[in-house]
Structures are given as C-alpha cells and as structure tokens.
Symmetry: C2
Subunit: 198 residues, 2 copies
DNA sequence: GTGTAAACTTGACGCGATGTAAACTTACGC
DNA sequence: GCGTAAGTTTACATCGCGTCAAGTTTACAC
C-alpha cells in the first residue's frame, strides 16, 4: 500500500522526516511539520488521519528512501558467525539512518496505542532477523552452551534495541564504527561457542 | 534534604508510589494521585513544585522504603567474577521493586528537562557501580581480551538498562530469576576472560 | 467563459493535562 | 477572638492534538 504518495503527501513526509532527524524525534509538532512543508496544519489532516499515522508513514518513507532492503543482502547470504557479524554490521549502519524517526515512534508509543502497535510490529521484524541469525549459529552447532535459541534471540534482540543504541552513542559517545565492532565482539563472545572463536 | 516528609507529603508520596507501581508508570495523572491521597489536586502543588519534582521525590521515597542501601551490601564486599554476579543479582532484584517509578521518569524525561536531569543523575550512579564491577575484574586480570574498562563499563551499563529490562520481562516474558541468570551468563561470557570460566 | 469538484486555507472550538490564582474554610496556638 | 497555616473550590491560562464549517484557489470539463 501507499506505493506512490501524492505530491502533497510527499512534501509532508519530506518535512516530517527532515524535522524528526534534525531534532532526534523530539519537539516535532504537527504545526512545525506543516510550516516546514509550506502548508497549513489542517492540510496534514487531509492527507493523514492522525499524528501517529503520519509517524508510521514517515518511518516507511524513510526506509524506502535509503533502500533498506538492498543493504540487508549480505546478511541474508551469510551463515553462522559471518551471519551474526553481517547482521550487526547492517543493523549498526541502518540504525543511524532511521534513528530520528524511530525515536519519535519510541516516544509516541508511550502515550499512543496506534504508535505502540506500529512500533511493536516493526520490532517483531527485527526480532525475526535476530532469530534467523541465532538459528543459523545453532544449525552449525556454534550456539554456546547455556543458550537456547529463544533466550539467545531475546538477548541479541535486546542488545540491539534502539534504546541501547541511543544510550551507547549518546551517553557513552560511541561512534557507529565502535558500536558495530563492540556489539560484534559482545555477541560473538556471548553466543558463539569457544572453539569457534580463536 | 527531604529527610522527614510531613504527613501530607507522605500521603501524596504513598499514593503516587502505589499508582505508579500499579500502572507501570503510565496513565498516572496529578488528579489520580490527588484522589488516591484523599486530597485536592491543588494540595499536591502546595507540597511539590511540579509533576516532575513529585516523580523524583517518589523515586527517592521508594528507594528509602525498600532500603536499597542494605541490599547492595553483598555486592560491595565481593570482588572479581563474584562481584559481577552479585551486582547483577542485586540489580535484577532491585529493578522490579522500582520499575513502575523508574518507568514514569523514563517517560517523563522525553518531554521534561528536570526529569531528564534527575534520570541522568540516577543512571550515572548505576554506571559507577558497573564501572566498579568491571574495574574489579580488570584488577584481577580477568577482563577479557578486547575490552577496555571504559567500553566494558558502557556495555554492561547498557545491558542492565531499564529499557532492556522492560523488553526482556515484558516482550520476552522473562522472570526475574531468568533475567538474573541469563544476564549473569551473558556478562560472564562477554567480559570475563576464558580461562576463568570453566 | 462558466460550472463544479477537489485540495487547501482560515479561524474557531473541544478535549485532556499541567500549572496558576484568588477567595473561602478549618483548625490550632496564643 | 485573632492570626496563621494548610486545604478546598472554582476558575482560568496554556499547549498540543484533533475537528468543523465556511471560504478560497486551482484545474479541468463542457
């Protein structure tokens, strides 16, 4: 759905995306978006049902713009430890691109049912990828001793959460490069059985 | 400061604490707290400057009630891997007690400068404890190869964040027992050098 | 050109929540 | 009784989302 947004819709999405990224997802009001799009506040409501719907559409729009699907290719090809590394590599480079928008949704979900549903839906996708990755490890007999696929998946998923990313980059000052390297290290040490990591 | 809250203040704090815990930090309005305390909404503003100040005071109040200081004792005595285990054990049992209130602050910090400051302040304390723990590992030469004290501290701190706890217990259905065990496992595998963990 | 329908604007309003202000009520000490 | 402190009541300001109704622009059909 929403394969080709109209020109006005696109103006709104562009403005929303820009503002969300600029402001890290905070302090972006409907009126701000309207002004940035050169439209009246009401024009937005003619094109989107609610703030939440706009947020959700903006996430999608951002994803389409930077073509997330193509970036994930190397990950889906790999298996085992390489898959783990590739997954974290992809995720670590993908997150900064969508962080502003994700953050907006992350905040909205605390007070808005629809935002919560949209967020959960997206996060379940991420969880699936984590599961696939862990499963690949397990298939090669490389999943470290005490872990089950379920618990390892949950842990990896949580490790890679948006909130954790925010804390590490924001509060701890990590760069993308550092984030990827350290998370790869952490995940390998945690989930891959010893004999496989020299 | 605020060593002995007046009777009214205490009624308010009791009500706030109860509601925050009951509702997981969401949907607790000033009017709800007032009603629960058997007071008018304005009576709260006579005792607390703002919602944020009340939230912060409630966190402190909750901490005093369940005497966090005494629970942390076994942790401060231990060293090395035991310290790591003890710290996670303490944290895993402490978090559920304060989760509702912490969550309230976690939400408030997104829109409220004062809440943000209060939250950051508290989180820095947790970070210090993580640092002490990692430092103890390092002192015994047990900090695993690629880690520095700083990066390991940041990682452990993030691993133990409230948001991560929420995801694991809420979305993944982990119990406190599971949380403690898996986090201990994860942390040991990640941060403790191999020869020390049979 | 004229008519008409869709898209957009303008300005007003309702709602829920925080926070403020002013006037009234109690209770207590002296 | 008088004054003060703590609380109550009622009303109002503010902010942001969402809605509504009436007016205006644009574009296209005939």
């Amino acid at each position: 759905m929403s394969s080709k947004p109209t020109e006005t819709k696109e103006k709104i999405l562009d403005a929303a995306l820009r503002l969300l990224i600029e402001n890290g997802g905070k302090d972006v009001r409907m009126s701000d978006i309207a002004k940035a799009a050169g439209l009246s506040r009401q024009a937005i409501y003619l094109n989107f049902e609610s703030r939440t719907e706009l947020m959700v559409a903006t996430v999608q729009y951002g994803d389409e713009l930077n073509d997330a699907a193509s970036q994930v290719k190397p990950w889906s090809d790999a298996e085992g430890v390489e898959k783990l590394d590739a997954w974290i590599y992809f995720w670590g480079h993908y997150l900064p691109q969508v962080f502003g928008v994700a953050k907006a949704l992350l905040v909205a979900k605390e007070t808005d049912e629809a935002a919560l549903a949209a967020w959960d839906d997206r996060m379940e996708d991420v969880r699936k990828s984590c599961r696939k990755t862990i499963q690949s490890l397990a298939n090669q007999g490389l999943l470290a001793k005490p872990w089950k696929v379920k618990t390892a998946t949950d842990s990896l998923w949580t490790l890679l959460s948006v909130a954790s990313y925010e804390q590490l980059t924001d509060k701890c000052g990590w760069s993308t490069r550092q984030y990827v390297q350290q998370m790869q290290c952490l995940a390998r040490r945690s989930f891959v059985s010893n004999e496989a990591t020299p």
